[in-house]
Amino acid sequence: MELFRSHVLICAGTGCTSSGSAQLYDRFEELLAQNNLEKEVKLVKTGCFGLCEAGPIVIVYPEGAFYSRITKADVDTIVSEHLVKGRVVAKLLHKDSIEETGNIRALDDIQFYKKQKRIALRNCGVINPENIDEYIAFDGYKALCKVLTEMSREEVIDQIKKSGLRGRGGGGFSTGMKWQFTYNTPNEKKYVACNADEGDPGAFMDRSVLEGDPHTIIEAMAIAGYAVGADQGYIYVRAEYPIAVKRLEIAIEQAREYGLLGEGIFGTDFKFDLDIRLGAGAFVCGEETALIASIEGERGEPRPRPPFPAVKGLFGKPTLLNNVETYANVCQIILNGADWFADMGTEKSKGTKVFALGGKINNTGLVEVPMGTSLKEIIYDIGGGCPNGKKFKAVQTGGPSGGCLPDELIDTPVDYDNLIAAGSMMGSGGMIVMDEDNCMVDIARFFLDFTVDESCGKCTPCRVGTRRMLEILDRITEGKGKDGDIERLESLAYNIKNTALCGLGQTAPNPVISTLKYFRHEYEAHIYDQTCPAGVCTNLLQYSIIPEKCKGCTLCTRVCPVGAISGNLKEPHVIDKSKCIKCGACIEKCKFGAIIKK
């Protein structure tokens, strides 16, 4: 047995990898060898810790020292001070992890983690995802064993139903019911599938689970296979997630070696195997019927439902399709019981939800909170509010299918039904925070631009309708908005919502509908007053110099690339609006705040 006195955990998720964590690992390895510490200190590559903003992250146990934004040079300090001499390097610790007394806070007491409850992410940042033994050490495959040896298929489905787990991919349909429907459809051949085609801009919780804890998905899919009567599973994952794909491949291989996939699992006659299918990055393939078509090798286009996949799915057979995060909850429900899970959350939304916090927020990263946590707690207590003291304006949940919720609704407890009532939706859990500098018309335009791009073109409302909406939004942001545009947007939005074939089209107008609901005055300002209140839409901006503030230093005339500013030394300058290209260079240079845009 190898026993180490210290473990150094280095995040190898996508976020930290892109900020250089692989080089840190190499440097640690080198230095540990130099100092003869290889037998005492163990290096572990883990999945995402969630606080991506502070990456690359290194955690040293047993102290639980949480080092953030580590550079290669810092590695030298950590090794020579902490690992050799046992002195925690306080100046490299994450600022929130040191108490006023100078003591190190336990990881769970850091503001970012304090209000979190990690179930789906329980192993991310704790285990080495490429080592099946570590997963087993943290109770891995125990749930599968329990299910196969102690529970009937009906009991498993009952547990999932009783837990109140709902689909984490966005729709929020009861997972237990889905399992029941697939179970109910008689057929000799059935499939289970995992939707890992995470496409919402800014959402990356599925990627984190796959990268940090791939075995939990394998185990949960095997449990699902047993429950519904399937012996083959497919994980449909985007090709843009290379680390996740690689770790999944390794995990599947290890599970096969251990006989946890294959025939006669745990000595029973249950057999199950898994394959990975790579998506080519089409957003619509996150829609279940399009995803199934794509796995079959067809063009990724949705078809009308019913029949639902539970009746007629992959290759025409009954198919159970769940999202990554949904599966990530399954093993814990089996091990801890449905009641344990149902104790968390709100009346109709049980358990926890992972959110990807992004945009104008201090602590960008992944957070997992019990359902019913308010937007305010997520944004301020965990996320740390907007950077640079800017004023919070709105939060967009649910990606391109969701909506923007304003400051007035910040106390809303987050669950499926509350978000829908407020005009947004849970979606897969992207949460993009906007501050006073964001123009809501521009935001709506951005999301619609995305859906126009991603529309598969099969049905007219989505293919043509969203494009017409985008044209109107383009017009408004360019200052060419006309009276009646808002009404046209509204009627298009409701028509598309009611007639589009699949979820993509049906939800595409949501960003427009919700911004019209809460920020209608911004639309009106664009159209009728020809101004952009947030100062974003270039065509609506005018740069001008306040004569009383201008000292005539001539700095702006020198920096203006088109020579639009003129004036004599020590006299107020003026901007020639016909020449100005609104690049903003003068504003940055002016030391007196004499230049304004509005």
Binding site: M1, R5, E40, V84, G86, I127, E134, A137, D139, F266
Partner: protein, 126 residues
Amino acid sequence: MKSFAELEAIRQKTLDQVNLRREHEGTRVVVGMATCGIAAGARPVMLAFLDEVSKRGLLDVTVAQTGCIGMCRLEPMVEITLPGQPKVTYVKVTPEMVSRIVTEHVVNGRVVDEYTIGAADAEDQK
């Protein structure tokens, strides 16, 4: 994988390796490893602890290091805290003493008085 026993065997085997990362209330063995401690020979002492703990398969024992405890003349110093008990400080520890400390104190809960700081202090008084 044919049985739960097989799974449990892997779990137990790996648990030792990942125990450090779990929240647990166990015994802590802390070796003073500042410059003074290292110079006085703290590293072989710590390795001896690691060795002894792993040989006996003591799951709940964490071996850690710390900086200078302040009494450099008594290094190598080792602090042992059993759950719910006050900290005991051993001084001038050598690798040879480790096996006895682990057997008597860590496993059986009997402090090895003659190695503790109290004993060293009494010695000095004479």
